[in-house]
C-alpha cells in the first residue's frame, strides 16, 4: 500500500483520485450486498437451533467486524499523522470515525434483535456485546472531542492521541470484559454465538463482510472529499476544479 502513497499524500492530488475510486467501491458494495443477502436470506438453510431469526447474523457479524477494523484503521492513520504530520492522514482519521460509529451501532442493534427471539432478551451482558458498547463510546469520544475543538490542527492532534490511546486499550477492555463475563457464567447468555457454520453460511458472511468493507471505503472516501473541501477552503487548486469553477 505504501508505493504510490507519497504521490497522493497531498489533499490536492488525493481529492480527484478519491473521486474516481468511489463509484467502483459503491457499485462493488451494492453488488456484493445483493449477493450476500441472497445467500443469507435465500440460499442458506434454516438453522437447526435458532430457526429463521439467525439470519440477522449476515448483517450483525460483518458490521461487528467492520466496527473493530475501522477503529484499527483510524488508529493507523492517527499514528501516521503523529509520525509524519501529513494533513491527509488526519483527514482520513477524521473521516473514519463516523463510519466506525455507524457500524458499531448497527452491530449493537442487530445483536439486540438477534438476542430477542433467540434468547428472550434484547440485551444480555455478554462479553462481545458489552465490548461493542464500549467501542461505541470510544468512537463517540473521538467524534465529540473533534466537535469540541475549534482549531482544526489541535483537533487533529488531540483526536489522534485519543484514537491511539483507545486502540491500545481496546484489547485490554475486551479481555477484561470477557473475564468479567466468564466469572458470571450463570447470569449471562451468549447471544452472539454464531450457529455452527454450514459452509454456505460462512460464504454468505464473508460476502457481506466484503460488501461492508467496500461500503465503508466508498463512504469514507466521499466523506474525506467533503473534509478536504471544507478544510482547504481558499486553496488555489480547489478553485481550479471544474465543479467549483463552474459554480
Amino acid at each position: 500500500m505504501a508505493f504510490a502513497w507519497s504521490k497522493f499524500s497531498s489533499p490536492a492530488s488525493f481529492y480527484p483520485l478519491a473521486g474516481k475510486m468511489i463509484p467502483w467501491f459503491a457499485w462493488g458494495a451494492a453488488i456484493l450486498t445483493a449477493i450476500g443477502l441472497w445467500i443469507g436470506f435465500g440460499l442458506a438453510p434454516t438453522d437447526f437451533q435458532q430457526g429463521e431469526a439467525y439470519r440477522i447474523i449476515f448483517i450483525h457479524v460483518p458490521s461487528a467486524w467492520m466496527s473493530m477494523f475501522v477503529y484499527l484503521v483510524m488508529a493507523f492513520w492517527s499514528a501516521l499523522y503523529l509520525g509524519f504530520n501529513t494533513r491527509l492522514s488526519a483527514m482520513m482519521a477524521q473521516a473514519l470515525a463516523p463510519t466506525g460509529a455507524v457500524m458499531t451501532f448497527i452491530a449493537l442493534w442487530t445483536g439486540a434483535f438477534w438476542g430477542r427471539p433467540t434468547w428472550g432478551t434484547y440485551w444480555a451482558w455478554d462479553a462481545r456485546m458489552t465490548s461493542e458498547l464500549i467501542l461505541l463510546f470510544l468512537y463517540f469520544g473521538v467524534i465529540a472531542l473533534r466537535a469540541a475543538i475549534e482549531d482544526p490542527r489541535r483537533a487533529d492532534r488531540a483526536c489522534a492521541v485519543l484514537a491511539l490511546v483507545g486502540a491500545i486499550n481496546v484489547p485490554i477492555i475486551y479481555y477484561s470484559v470477557k473475564w468479567w463475563n466468564t466469572l458470571h457464567q450463570g447470569a449471562s447468555v451468549s447471544a452472539t454465538e454464531a450457529p455452527r457454520m454450514a459452509s454456505i453460511m460462512l460464504t454468505g458472511m464473508l460476502v457481506m463482510s466484503l460488501a461492508a468493507w467496500f461500503y465503508a471505503i466508498a463512504v469514507v472516501l466521499a466523506r474525506v472529499r467533503t473534509i478536504i473541501v471544507e478544510r482547504e477552503r481558499g486553496a488555489a487548486w480547489l478553485h481550479a476544479l471544474p465543479e467549483v469553477a463552474q459554480a
Binding site: L138, F140, L145, D151, V161, V165, I173, S176
Partner: protein
C-alpha cells in the same frame, strides 16, 4: 560574538534529569492543594454522599447491599476521580503557569508524573482510606474491606494517570467535564472490572490474587506509558 552570552547559573539542573521535575511538581501541587483544603474536603464529601445515595435508591436490606457494595464503592471512586481531574491542569492553564511548565528544561513527562502523584495523594489516597469505613454501610466484612482497600490502593493511581491524559486533551474546551467523562470512563472499565471483581472473588472464595495482579500490571503499564501521552496532550493543548 554569539558565544558571549550570559552564562548559565551553576545551579542549573542538567536537562533531562527526571527526579527534580517530579519533585518540583509534587511539592508545588501539594503546597497549593493544602492551601485550598476546602476544595479537597468537598471532593471527599462528594464521595461519601454518592455512596450513601445507593441504599436510599435501592434497599436497606443487608444482603443486597452487600452484593452491590464493592461496585458502588468503585463506581463512586471513578466519579470522584473524574470530578477532581480538571484541577490537574486547568488552573495552571488559566494563569499561564502551564506554559512555563511546558517550557521548563525539565522533561514535561516528569513534571506530569509529579502532578499526577500530588493529585493521587490528595484525591485517591483519601478514598482508599475512606472506602473501607463506608464499606461498613454495605455490610461488607473485614476480609472484603481489606481486599477493597488493596484494590483501590493499586487502582486509584491508574485512575489519576489515565485521567491526566483526558484532562490535558480537554483543557479549555467547552463542556469540558462531561467530555472528559465520555473520554475517560471507557478506559476506566478494566480497572472497575478487576477492582470490584477482586472483592467478589474474595467473597466467592476464589481469592483476589489474579485480580490484584492484573491491577498491578495495569498500574505498571500506566506508569510507564501515560506520562508520555499526557505530556503530548498538554503540548497539543498549548499549541
Amino acid at each position: 560574538m554569539s558565544t558571549m552570552v550570559v552564562a548559565q547559573s551553576p545551579a542549573t539542573a542538567a536537562p533531562g534529569a527526571v527526579l527534580p521535575g517530579v519533585r518540583w511538581a509534587l511539592a508545588r501541587d501539594l503546597r497549593l492543594a493544602l492551601r485550598s483544603r476546602a476544595e479537597l474536603a468537598v471532593q471527599l464529601l462528594f464521595y461519601v454522599i454518592v455512596v450513601s445515595l445507593f441504599p436510599l435508591a435501592t434497599t436497606p436490606e443487608r444482603t443486597q447491599l452487600s452484593a452491590i457494595g464493592p461496585g458502588v464503592l468503585w463506581v463512586a471512586a471513578l466519579l470522584a476521580s473524574l470530578l477532581s481531574l480538571p484541577r490537574l491542569f486547568a488552573a495552571d492553564y488559566a494563569d499561564g503557569t502551564l506554559e512555563q511548565i511546558a517550557l521548563s528544561p525539565y522533561p514535561l513527562e516528569s513534571l506530569v508524573v509529579g502532578k499526577v502523584l500530588a493529585h493521587w495523594l490528595t484525591t485517591g489516597l483519601p478514598i482508599v482510606l475512606l472506602a473501607p469505613i463506608l464499606g461498613l454501610q454495605y455490610a461488607l466484612d473485614n476480609e472484603l474491606l481489606v481486599v477493597l482497600a488493596a484494590a483501590l490502593l493499586i487502582g486509584t493511581p491508574v485512575l489519576s494517570l489515565l485521567g491526566a491524559i483526558g484532562a490535558a486533551l480537554t483543557l479549555g474546551l467547552r463542556g469540558g467535564s462531561s467530555l472528559l467523562a465520555l473520554l475517560i470512563l471507557p478506559l476506566y472499565v478494566p480497572l472497575l472490572i478487576f477492582g470490584a471483581g477482586a472483592v467478589e472473588a474474595t467473597r466467592s472464595g476464589l481469592g483476589a490474587t489474579a485480580h490484584l495482579s492484573l491491577l498491578g500490571a495495569a498500574f505498571l503499564v500506566a506508569l510507564v506509558g501515560t506520562p508520555f501521552a499526557a505530556a503530548a496532550s498538554v503540548r497539543i493543548a498549548l499549541d
